[in-house]
């Protein structure tokens, strides 16, 4: 019986917009090494940016952000954890832009992209931290 392989990596960030470049470099390096389809990598990169950017822009009181990536049992998951006040991003209503251009309200697009590009989303508040998990099934 073949052993179940598991890949995992993580990075810790300060709550600072300048850290997003370091996060992006970490993710692209990881994606080069892991057996993942290019389009999945690109779409999950969008999700990662959206989740972390949301914390950086709106996470008042948050000092640190931890991101973990796993590839296990045919699922690629990105977990984004922060020590800010309780905030469940899954409560953000979102959808594609539908109004005429001049009337369109630009909000919730990040969450809409995360919902569009993932198969599984979960939020939990634990140990004084917010934990958002974004996962995508990997076709073998």
């Amino acid at each position: 019986m073949m052993p179940t392989s598991r890949l995992a990596d993580q990075i810790a960030l300060h709550n600072d917009s300048r850290e997003i470049a370091r996060l992006d470099a970490w993710y692209r390096c990881l994606a080069e090494d892991w057996p993942l389809p290019a389009m999945l990598v690109a779409e999950m990169r969008v999700c990662l940016h959206e989740a972390v950017t949301n914390i950086v822009m709106h996470g008042n009181g948050c000092r640190r952000i931890w991101v973990a990536a796993t590839l296990e049992d045919g699922e690629f998951a990105l977990s984004v954890e922060d020590d800010g006040p309780p905030f469940d991003p899954l409560k953000i209503s979102s959808g594609p832009l539908a109004a005429p251009l001049l009337d369109v309200a630009i909000g919730g697009l990040g969450m809409h992209l995360i919902r569009s590009f993932t198969d599984r989303l979960a939020y939990v508040r634990r140990q004084e931290r917010n934990l958002l998990t974004m996962a995508r099934t990997v076709d073998v």
Binding site: S17, R18, I20, A21, D24, M39, A42, E43, R45, V46, H49, E50, T53, V56, M57, P96, L97, A98, P100, L101, L102, V104, I106, L109, G110, H112, L113, S116, F117
Partner: protein, 113 residues
Amino acid sequence: MQLESEEITGEVTRVRLTGTMDLAGAEEIGLRLSVLAGSRKYLLVDLEGVSFLSSMGIRGLLGAAKTVLRRGGKMVLIKPNATVEKVLTATGCDGLMPIAGSDEEALGLLAPA
């Protein structure tokens, strides 16, 4: 993130964006794109050099498209890569900012309906 612009005709300006259009990238080109949108009637925004687009980048593009439209003009996006195009379609942006595969197609889309 880089922004280069060239006037094609008196009313049409071509804007070439290059780089990662995330939070930092959108901030880097935001002011220049806004100024162009506020002073030109028609904008062709070439996205071929944009490797990544997030919602922050979309905000900048939509803001420019709104500004141009308010002045009676139009903005067309050109040649996004597959991922960037998927972001644009997933968010419904393709219904607000036409996407063209070439300059010629984009110029055709600028013509009044």
